[in-house]
Symmetry: C2
Subunit: 331 residues, 2 copies
């Protein structure tokens, strides 16, 4: 308790500074967060691991923070953005594939028959992904993603998907980096689907993105060495795959991890199990007006087991409705 | 030719500075390199990609340089260091494996029968690697590597392996970083075998190491979440696997690549094929006195096809005997 009280000083200072008017508010690193427990917990954690002489001090090279993407940094309803991309790609590529008119799951996509599509299950989904994500070079795929994002709009807010990112989390990423953290994305989504836009959206460079991937092959085509994307799963960066992916790419256990679904559970558990100060946070989608409200029964971003674990383990849970002053910058 | 002449100015300046006595010599970023063509080519390249307004200017986020490890940054004779490690581990673990006394390739290792060991081929090698590199947590393996490196000595110089690193390359790494480059290791060797010591040896953090790997699995053992190493190949980061690994981990094509063997050929080809200024370098082991002399017929670090490609393609080839003033800091 003595230790806790010690850390209340900077927390209280931060709150007081934040409340003391516009001049001071500009120095608030997290202006889109309400002055509730999650913001206080974040600032207290950063303070104790960065202050020289603190018993919880962590050297800069160990300040690794990992963030899920879908539902943690950007929107994931009414479906994962990458799935919306795949469906649009099926429609765009359909003229070159007359057989799709009668072949599932492509027929379901072209007919807008979501029920049949969902019924095609994981097998159907993988078929869709391979047909739309493979068979081109790495550079070509990045261009396709960039072009799609330039015109696609989310169905609720009618905004570019890259604007449907959570402003409080963008501030949190910048705040951590300003305090010597290296921020990583660790997503079940495709790594090549994220790399073209995450630098601009989140300030995270492509080499700090860990995600699911398909295999690629080195080929010399017309004398030009290139990498071709193959229709074969390489790595699934979800659930227990997240700690595996983090270790494979970074070789460090993070000291802070941020997620919003059961797919992030093992990443948070593994982060929590390391020695020294740790910070684990779940974003709970509770705002059906400004965003979406969903958790235990959602088809995308189901939050059930992880929510049950969070409280007894002392993980921070963000109640979006109460804890976030702003959700999207465009609102 | 006009372009070339323009870049001679800084090169000549650097040479003159380097030759003008001790006070200036201290500002020479590459003091272990002789004033021969490779050093001049390196400095000219760094100068043209970093100078604002240069037609070849490369923004800092694209200044990615990738380095092979065995034979490029440290010694690889009379055998890969990691193989020496595996052989020592077989001897250390033998008391727990009485069956190894009669089972190949373990028997060959215990008998010191290199001929039979080599005859066991790739299959035998993989068996050795799995028996010595799997079946423990990631943290435990890193400790085993660290402990081994603390006492193992190379057979020619009787030095710790982590001192058998090429001083000119250590200077080159630091010089590139001082000019805004991000330096990566891209090795056929095991990523977890390198991570424990590369920060201290080369100034490269664990997250900037790409290498071969075995699979790991997330497991909760006695309530503690951990990663266990499995006896199953995950990725072979050699030959055409190097561009694949670079793209998977970094998502950027490097602008400079450094190797010493045919296993680096595709990495150099892929690097060379990108747009804008490029730099490719091969270390040719030509000094049998201060190190080893080997190339086209070597069992480790064979340099044959890549050497033939280097000249017509204008890649820089380091002749260790002539181009390196110092090879090891201990000499």
């Amino acid at each position: 308790m003595i230790k806790l009280r010690k850390h209340l000083v900077p927390v209280l200072s931060a709150i007081l500074l934040g409340a003391s008017g516009l001049a001071h508010a500009q120095s608030d690193p997290l202006p889109s967060w309400n002055e509730t427990a999650p913001k206080q917990a974040i600032i207290a954690f950063v303070d104790k691991v960065t202050k020289t002489g603190s018993p919880d001090f962590v050297p800069m090279e160990d300040r690794i923070a990992t963030f899920d993407n879908d539902g943690t940094l950007w929107i994931e309803q009414p479906m994962y953005v990458q799935l919306a991309f795949a469906l649009d790609r099926v429609k765009a590529l359909a003229p070159q594939h007359p057989e799709w008119k009668t072949k599932q799951p492509f027929k379901a996509v072209l007919d807008g028959d979501m029920k049949t599509l969902v019924a095609s299950g994981e097998h159907g989904l993988v078929e869709l992904l391979m047909a739309t994500h493979a068979g081109m070079t790495v550079d070509q795929f990045q261009q396709v993603v960039t072009d799609w994002l330039a015109t696609a709009r989310d169905p609720k807010f009618h905004q570019p998907y890259t604007d449907c990112i959570y402003q409080p989390m963008v501030e949190l990423l910048a705040y951590l980096r300003a305090n010597g953290f290296k921020t990583y994305i660790v997503s079940g989504g495709g790594v090549e689907f994220m790399r073209p836009w995450v630098q601009k959206a989140y300030g995270i460079p492509p080499e700090q993105v860990i995600g699911s991937s398909i295999k690629t092959k080195f080929e010399v085509v017309n004398g030009k060495p290139d990498l071709v994307r193959l229709p074969e799963i390489n790595f699934v960066d979800d659930g227990p795959g997240k700690p595996v992916g983090i270790n494979q790419y970074i070789g460090h256990r993070p000291i802070a991890a941020f997620g919003n679904s059961d797919g992030d559970l093992q990443m948070l558990e593994w982060t929590a199990a390391g020695a020294g100060a740790r910070f684990m946070l779940l974003v709970h989608h509770t705002d059906g007006v400004r965003e979406y409200a969903y958790d235990r029964k959602s088809a995308f971003g189901k939050l059930d087991k992880a929510l049950d674990e969070a409280r007894p383990k002392g993980w921070t849970v963000v109640n979006m409705k109460d804890d976030w002053k702003t959700i999207f910058a465009f609102q």
